[in-house]
């Protein structure tokens, strides 16, 4: 009996993930992140084109149409990496526009979209998709995501794939804040020992891992099946892993996480922003409830 490819990353998928990680480490390191925080609203168009050239936006566009011809699984891995480093910009909207809006695929055109009653990066975008009449700028809680509020009730928007890719970004944050918490717990000393030697800190870190890994299984599975109910589950678990994770990471960091210079609060704020996409939790929960009676 042959051992088939399983519910694990293939070698190609690993290579793709490592490639994206490498690109982002080169082009969006910690200094670039801090610079972006200090110049809110400025989108790095050169980086955007570089992402386009690397296939980030055209990843799922068929090869016949000039795209990379890969699937949701690969897109999820790429977006997880983007979430991990807090890459700014309307990534999901531009990715979804590739193959539809000319120039989106290669990163020469920046595409924003209405989702959850909001538009991210409206002023920086060349094209805005969705009903964006009567937009009002907000003072965004996330220094890396300029926001406009769409007047009127429509808080829905963001299709199935947008929700999944957002969940992948949340997974990236969940993974990153676990790393940050563990790193801090290993090195910060209090009462004569690393704080990671205290059970209370240990257990916070353990739960950071548990939430991230459960979310990972859900997000990757949803990428494989593409089923709405799997995506709804992935979204709930990834939101929880990112938001709770960032808060627990902050708790582990104590006062040091409370400064503007810390990376932790940027993850929390971005996680809040992402959690507003895709029409709120309620819809996902109702979908999952309805599934039980199907």
């Amino acid at each position: 009996m042959t051992v088939p490819v399983r519910f694990q990353l293939t070698d190609d998928q690993r290579a793709l993930r490592d490639g994206v990680r490498g690109l982002l480490a080169r082009r969006f390191d910690r200094e670039t992140l801090r610079a972006a925080v200090d110049a809110p609203g400025r989108l790095d168009r050169a980086l955007w084109r570089e992402l386009g050239a690397a296939g980030f936006f055209a990843l799922r566009v068929p090869e016949a149409e000039g795209g990379v011809g890969l699937g949701l699984s690969e897109a999820v891995l790429a977006f997880e990496e983007a979430g991990r480093v807090l890459l700014p910009g309307p990534l999901v909207a531009t990715h979804l526009a590739a193959g539809v809006v000319p120039g989106a695929a290669d990163g020469s055109v920046v595409v924003a979209a209405v989702d959850g009653g909001l538009v991210e990066w409206l002023d920086a975008a060349d094209v805005v998709r969705g009903e964006a009449g009567g937009v009002v700028p907000l003072r965004s809680v996330d220094p890396l995501t300029p926001l406009h509020r769409v007047a009127g009730g429509a808080e829905g928007g963001g299709g199935r794939v947008a929700v999944l890719l957002t969940a992948a970004e949340q997974l990236g944050t969940a993974t990153r804040v676990r790393e940050l918490a563990v790193q801090h717990a290993r090195t910060r000393e209090q009462f004569g020992q690393p704080i990671g030697a205290f059970q209370a800190v240990k257990h916070l870190c353990a739960q950071l891992l548990v939430r991230a890994e459960v979310a990972r299984a859900a997000v990757y599975a949803a990428a494989v099946t593409g089923a709405p109910v799997d995506i709804a589950a992935a979204r709930l678990l990834a939101d929880e892993a990112a938001v709770r994770g960032a808060r627990d990471c902050l708790q582990v960091h104590g006062g040091m996480g409370f400064t503007w210079e810390s990376e932790v609060h940027l993850h929390l704020k971005r996680a809040w922003v992402r959690a507003q996409r895709g029409g709120g939790r309620t819809e996902s929960e109702e979908l999952l409830a309805a599934d039980l009676t199907a």
Binding site: M1, T2, V3, P4, V5, R6, F7, Q8, L9, T10, Q13, S73, V182, A185, R186, Q193, P194, G196, A197, F198, Q199, V201, K202, H203, C205, A206, Q207, L209, V210, E213, V214, A215, R216, A217, A218, Y220, A221, A223, V224, T225, V229, D230, A232, A233, A234, L236, L237, T282, S284, E285, E286, L287, L288, A289, A290, D291, L292, T293
Partner: protein, 377 residues
């Protein structure tokens, strides 16, 4: 990443499903939970049927994925649980297979697979608790025999077991994990007293086993003297990935039954309850995916457990308690009636964050062994 199975595996699934559909209706009625000999007979009978049909060794020899399919399908079909065969098939047997001599394997393994001999486990002790290695049951060497004195607790099926996989202290001077030895103790040896232990659920699912100068032949030792801790760890990590497959399948079925009950009694109209069941659906779907992930990982690493096992146990034990709390809210006042479904399960779910390492201990393990955090002073 894939979630589909190979054609060979689908063929296995189809064959198994067909066989289950044929044989399950012919099974005798389930015995009363308090009738231990009848339970033994029922469970061993089922094991014999599996053996005759070629499914007996699925826990040992098959690929993790085939084991997953086996556990999934038997649970879905409502087949009997492993029951009295649990320790033999999933703990003692694998230990003997991995660490025993040829002679020992030939003596003990076939009767386990054929459903002829029942094993129980003598690991836990009242004073050791979560600190398993603090066990105090003493064995002193007397010629070709060990003479064992002490007591064990939380032993299932002790009343009807033929053998007990026993951990004893053979070197009291050695550091705590070092002086431990693994023995196969015949349960009919003189000096053994079994006393049923009633749990908070009201049932005598477990027993205490008191040992007073019980003589065990040296030939019943698996592994070297004082090497029992290592021998045991082999057992404990053996089926990490698939230990709870059946239960997760069952929990997902319970969730659907809860939704049906809530529709019947009108509580489905309460959005808060409905959405809570929706969240539990997400939770158990994710746990199922995590199981598949862990099984696939075990397949590629040759069975070496990854981070998945401890992560799974921590989250699942909590989720199971949440599930039965939600069941109580669906039932309303009927949640106080032991004759209603789920009420006894709610009580036994309370043990999940305690048994086999409390959640507190599990979190230490995850933090220290997986995340590399330092031990406390």
């Amino acid at each position: 990443m894939e979630l589909s199975c190979s054609p060979e595996e689908e063929e296995f699934r189809g064959r198994l499903r067909e066989w289950l559909a044929r044989v399950l209706p012919s099974l005798p009625a389930k015995p009363s939970p308090d009738d231990w000999p009848a339970r033994r007979a029922y469970d061993m009978g089922w094991q014999r049927m599996l053996y005759d049909a070629g499914y007996a060794e699925v826990h040992w020899d098959a690929s993790p994925t085939l084991r997953l399919i086996f556990l999934e399908e038997t649970e879905k079909a409502g087949a009997p649980y492993v029951g009295a065969g649990f320790v033999g098939l999933l703990h003692a047997g694998p230990t003997i297979a991995a660490e025993g001599s040829d002679e020992q394997r030939a003596r003990w393994l076939p009767p386990i697979l054929r459903g002829e001999e029942v094993w129980c486990q003598g690991f836990s002790e009242p004073d050791a608790g979560s600190d398993l290695a603090a066990l105090r049951t003493r064995a002193r060497r007397d010629g070709d025999e060990y003479v064992v004195t002490g007591s064990k607790i939380w032993t299932s099926h002790a009343e009807v077991a033929d053998w007990c996989e026993l951990l004893v202290r053979t070197d009291p001077a050695a550091a705590k994990h070092r002086g431990i030895t693994w023995l196969a103790m015949p349960m009919d040896a003189p000096g053994i007293t079994v006393r049923p232990l009633r749990t908070l659920a009201g049932s005598a699912e477990f027993a205490e086993v008191f040992l007073d100068e019980v003589r065990v032949p040296v030939g019943n030792r698996v592994g070297e003297e004082n090497d029992g801790w290592r021998v045991t760890m082999v057992t404990l990590s053996f089926e990490r990935g698939t230990a709870f497959v059946g239960e997760v399948v069952a929990c997902r079925r319970v969730l659907r039954e809860l939704a049906a009950e809530a529709r019947k009694n009108g509580r489905w109209d309460e959005p808060e309850l409905r959405r809570r069941l929706g969240r539990l659906n997400a939770e158990f779907r994710a746990l199922w995916r995590l199981t598949q992930w862990n099984v696939s990982e075990a397949e590629t690493t040759g069975g070496v457990p990854g981070v998945g096992g401890s992560v799974f146990k921590l989250r699942y034990s909590h989720a199971r308690q949440e599930l039965y709390d939600a069941a109580a809210d669906v039932l309303g006042p009927d949640a106080l009636d032991l004759d209603r479904p789920w009420v006894l399960d709610r009580l036994s779910s309370l043990s999940y964050t305690i048994a086999a390492g409390t959640s507190q201990i599990q979190q230490n393990i995850v933090a220290e062994r997986i995340l590399g955090l330092p031990k406390g002073r």
